[in-house]
Every structure is written in structure tokens, then in C-alpha cells.
Symmetry: C2
């Protein structure tokens, strides 16, 4: 299957916005959610991009996600906010929380905003990246549907619970971390089976919970956490922050975006720090530039052409994809065209 | 070499306190620092326990660590504090920062305290564990001397930059995460060479920066970050928080505790959250107990006898070691006796 012709990011944003509006979101919320998806594609994270539109639409149609949920404050006290998302779009609640955490950090040096009864938020760095242009550093944790077993177990009950940090980096694009705590995406194990190769140690356990390098056994088993027991511990901590502290769901009570009939139960915690309170922002930026210069100046390993700082690859992808347009996989294009037809907006599809 | 007879934790604490006082610390600071070391032993982390006493004493003797440094506030604004440790003991500055972050969280819901010009702090969870008895959650990051290459490089310039979270857990010992971002301790590679076995993929690169499973090549090369590029990205973020934001050293400008002549340059960031502002502490604790019950109830993998939540193993070790006494390796005992003799307090050694 060959990829379709590239589509401009703006055209794709308009299409995704129209799709989500047709599924019941307000124009403003539709545009925000569409923007999170298109950004994931721009950064090169297609697994979190517009290919997910059908999932979100299905959830809006089923009522598992409430299109017109009006989030409100359970707690609103100086540096702290707790938002109840009332089962609306996670993207909408998370973006509100990010703006709010920044506002509180501007007033108090630090702001922490928890979100309960939210939904899947897509790519976590979309929200933390709101902070650097405001001179702030931001942390975000979220929880997700079970993806790994507790360490020593053989049944999924802990999410991959993604987390992100972003910080200003002077003249460079921001420093960004955005990771899930599983060792590998399931697709890579399918690929190994197809190629008839073993998978590396540390990727998966079999159905008995025993580590395996056999892709078939792995697909009948469970993906392991990244870095073994460390990834398990990190995931539990992120569930504590995102699910327990926020007053939201945790563990098996959180459902994924592809489970169209189940309310999500996901929660998030966002913490913003105002750099200027710690030191002049110019000084911070100069130090960040020096750190990045140091990282990139290290002697290269054989076979490596360049060292990147965290976030640099996404920033380059973004610049290139804005210029060249986004090349979506042909099956994603088919899904989107079918979705648009079903919503009665097939004429809005921007692809040739 | 067989282990010496067990020593009571209190006796070891008294001895370590006397040692550090003889090296120039005030009685209060000597006791605090000694307490961090003995706790590491109690938790089963001997690599961070009293075996490090000679390193700290050497640094105090050389003046790389200033025994009587008086830390002061560079910033003291509501929810935010920035402490300058003036090259004193990292343990003293980090404990001050932890108490201060909790105090600020009690007043503002969240408190963030940065520490610059500090030193090696030993085990990170000693400080985050100050928060749960106060009804708070705490995050700590610190930076450390170069331990890994930037991803794609072949020269060490990024520390393993440990970080920790701790939270109350109802009737259970607190939930605790305390990890460094390298894949493995160097000692395990020495062991593999001794046993003439290969090391797993993902542990190390050779001198050319190429991944290797040969322990000899690994020892001539560099330990890899945990979870590959993810561990590299996490380490850089922790350096941003601990070194750049605090106004301290970062990257190769941070020196390790075993480098007796070099000032440390390490920094730390601590963030405390007051649970009660987000929800009643009782409700939080009940939810934590339910989460832990869920983790521990998962069906067991073949060969596993019990599932632990993060921090549970350390809490059990602590209880057992307090009762049975601490069994130190014989070479650690020899080092400590030699150290005490050199300081003229050989008669204080509590071992038989």
C-alpha cells in the first residue's frame, strides 16, 4: 500500500476540525482537539495523529465522551486548581489545565492543576509545550488503560501512564520529554513475528508471566515496562499522581480511546514553574543553550551522524512537514474518507 | 571474605555521627548525614550506605566539601525558595530544602525549592520520605557526575541524575520511587566478566559507542541509559531541573563523591504537594490502599511469590534490619575501622 499525496497541515487541521464539529464538539473544542492530532503528525508521531480521529468520533457518538461537557473547578485556591472534566474531551480539559497552571505559576512561582473525569489526551507534549513560550517549565502526567502487569504478575492492570516535561531552550526549540512507560510498541512485536526474528530481552513476558524473546509467545503475553521494574514503579507513581491525587480513576478503571463504549476515567496532573522566579529567564536560556551545545559536541559513536537533544527531532520533523505537507499512510486516508462520508462531510476531504 | 557480625542500626548511627563530627561537621549535621547513610543500609541499598563514609570524610578533609558552610536563601518568595548550599554537605542542604518545601506546600498547596552549589546527597528517597508523614507528596531531582554518553555519542557527559517521588499510602509504608537513569550498576558488568558470561543488550556500548554484549568491551566503553534513548532524555531533563533551573552546575561540571578534591557543583529541585488541598487525606489514603491491594492481587507470574508495590521491599528490609542488625561486608568494616583509627576515634567502632 503506497502513501497518498502529501496534505498541507492547515488543510488537514480544517478537515479534522470539521469532522470533530460534525461529531458534536463546539467549533472551538473541535479546533483544539484537531490541532493536537495534527501536531502529533507534524512531530512524526503518526500513531497519535489524525489516524485516531475515528476513535474519538466513535466515543463522541456513543456518549462515552460527552461532547458538550462543561468542566468546572472542584478546587480553586491560589497555586492549586482541581478541574472536573465531566467525561468531556481529555484534550479540552488538559489544555484548560495547562493554561491554568501557567497562570497560577505566573502569580505564585509554581502552579499545580489536577484534572479528574477527563479523557484520553493524545500526545502529552502538546500541553507541556504551552509553557516554554510563557517562560515556564511544565510537567504533565496522565494515566491510561492497563498495558502492563505489576512486576512479577501475569495480568495487565497498570497503564503505560505517559508523562512529559518541557522547558524553554533559548534560541532552540524547547527541551521536551514525552514518554510512555512500556518497553516497546506492540507493532514492533508483530513486525518481528512477520520477519521470523527473535525480539530483544526486556520487551515482553509470555502468558505465564515469564520473559520471552519469541514474538509469538510475546503476543500471547504482555509487553514489559521500560527498564524492567523501574518502568513499573514509574507507572504506578504516575497513576498515583494522575488518578489517585486528582480524584479520578486508576488502574483497570481507566479505559482507552479505542474502547468506544466505556467512559475514560483518566486524570492528569500538571505542574508549571515560572523560570523568572528562580533566575532571570535570559540567564536560564543562555545556560540551556550551553547545555545543548555540550550535548551535541560529544564525539560521535560509530554509525551516528548527529546527537540530538530531547525534542530536537520533533522540532525538525515539524518544520519539514509544514513545508512538505503530511504523508499519511494509505489506510489512514481510507479511514478518514470513510469517516467523513459517514458524517456527511465527504466533500471537505482535502486529499486529491 | 565473610560478612562481619551484625551491628545495631543505632550503634552504627552513633559511630557514623562521631566519624563525621571528627571530620568537622557540627553534631547536628553529622547526625543528619549519618542518618541518611544508615537508612540506605537499612533499606538494603548498601552501595549508598556507610561504605561511603570514607568518601565524604576525604572530601571534608580536602575542603572540596565545606564542613561549616552556612546555606542561605537566594530567593524566598511564598511557594518558592532557592537555597545556596555554598559547597557544604549535600545531605544538609537537601534535608533543609525538603523541610522547606513541605512548609511552603502547607501554606500554598504546593512548594518548590531549588538548591544550588550543593553536594552529593546519597539516597534520594531519604528526603522525599519526609513528606508522607506530613500528608504531602514530594518530588526530588538531583544531578550527578557524568555516567552516560548523550544518545549516539561515545563520551560520558551526562549524569545518571537520580529522581524520586514519595507519597502517603494509608496504613502501608509510603509509595516510593528512587531511581538513577543508567541501565545497570557497573559492578554487574565486572561480575559478568568474572563469570565469563555475556551481558544483556542495552547495558553498555563499547569504546566506539556501539552496543555490545561483551563485558570486557563494555568495561572499556560506557554504561547505557536505562530504556535506551528514553533514559538519556530523562537524564537531560533532570539536569535541566537540578542544574540549570537551580543555578548550579550541570553535565561535566558536576563531580562525584569519590572525587575527593573537586567541589561537587550538584543541585537539586524539590516539589511538595499538600494532599489535603486536593482531597481529604483520608480519602487519598483509602484510594492508595485500594490501588496497592489491586497491584498485589494480580495473578502471579511463574516463579514469583509475591508482587510488591514501589517502596515495599525497602520498608520490609528496614523492619528486618532494625531487628536483626546490619550485616556489613567485611571490606566495608575494614575501611570503617581504618577510617576511625585515622580520625583518632577507633575506640568508638561498635563492631565486635
Amino acid at each position: 500500500m503506497t502513501d497518498a499525496a502529501p496534505i498541507g497541515a492547515d488543510a488537514l487541521l480544517d478537515f479534522a476540525t470539521a469532522t470533530l464539529a460534525a461529531a458534536g464538539l463546539t467549533p472551538e473544542h473541535a479546533r483544539l482537539t484537531a490541532d493536537t492530532l495534527v501536531h502529533a503528525d507534524l512531530w512524526g508521531h503518526q500513531s497519535h495523529g489524525v489516524m485516531r480521529l475515528p476513535w474519538y468520533v466513535a466515543r463522541l457518538k456513543s456518549g462515552a465522551t460527552q461532547p458538550l461537557a462543561a468542566s468546572d473547578y472542584v478546587v480553586d485556591l491560589g497555586a492549586i486548581g482541581v478541574i472536573d472534566g465531566h467525561d468531556g474531551m481529555g484534550q479540552v480539559a488538559a489544555a484548560q489545565a495547562a493554561r491554568d497552571a501557567i497562570r497560577r505559576a505566573k502569580a505564585h512561582g509554581v502552579g499545580a492543576v489536577a484534572v479528574r473525569n477527563s479523557g484520553h489526551i493524545g500526545t502529552a507534549m502538546y500541553y507541556t509545550l504551552m509553557a516554554p513560550p510563557e517562560g515556564c517549565i511544565m510537567f504533565l502526567s496522565t494515566n491510561a488503560s492497563p498495558a502492563m502487569a505489576p512486576w512479577g504478575g501475569r495480568q495487565k492492570s497498570v497503564g503505560n501512564n505517559p508523562w512529559s516535561w518541557a522547558a524553554p531552550a533559548g534560541r532552540h526549540a524547547p527541551l521536551v520529554l514525552d514518554i510512555a512507560n512500556t518497553a516497546v510498541a506492540r507493532g514492533k512485536i508483530y513486525l518481528a513475528r512477520q520477519r521470523n526474528t527473535r525480539i530483544p530481552e526486556g520487551w515482553a513476558v509470555d502468558a505465564c508471566g515469564v520473559p520471552t524473546t519469541d514474538p509469538e509467545a510475546a503476543l500471547n503475553g504482555i509487553i514489559q515496562p521500560m527498564a524492567g521494574h523501574k518502568g513499573y514503579a514509574i507507572s504506578v507513581v504516575m497513576d498515583m499522581l494522575s488518578g489517585i491525587l486528582t480524584g479520578s480513576g486508576w488502574g483497570p478503571a481507566v479505559f482507552g480511546p479505542y474502547q468506544a463504549e466505556r467512559r475514560s476515567g483518566a486524570g492528569h496532573l500538571l505542574i508549571a514553574l515560572n523560570v523568572e522566579v528562580f533566575q532571570p529567564l535570559d540567564a536560564f536560556n543562555a545556560r540551556m543553550e550551553a547545555m545543548i551545545a555540550g550535548l551535541k559536541a560529544a564525539p560521535l559513536a560509530d554509525g551516528t551522524e548527529e546527537i540530538f537533544y530531547p525534542g530536537e527531532i520533533e522540532a525538525r520533523n515539524d518544520a519539514r512537514n509544514r513545508q512538505d505537507g503530511l504523508s499519511l499512510p494509505a489506510d489512514t486516508v481510507e479511514d478518514l474518507v470513510r469517516l467523513a462520508d459517514a458524517l456527511g462531510i465527504g466533500d471537505l476531504w482535502p486529499g486529491v
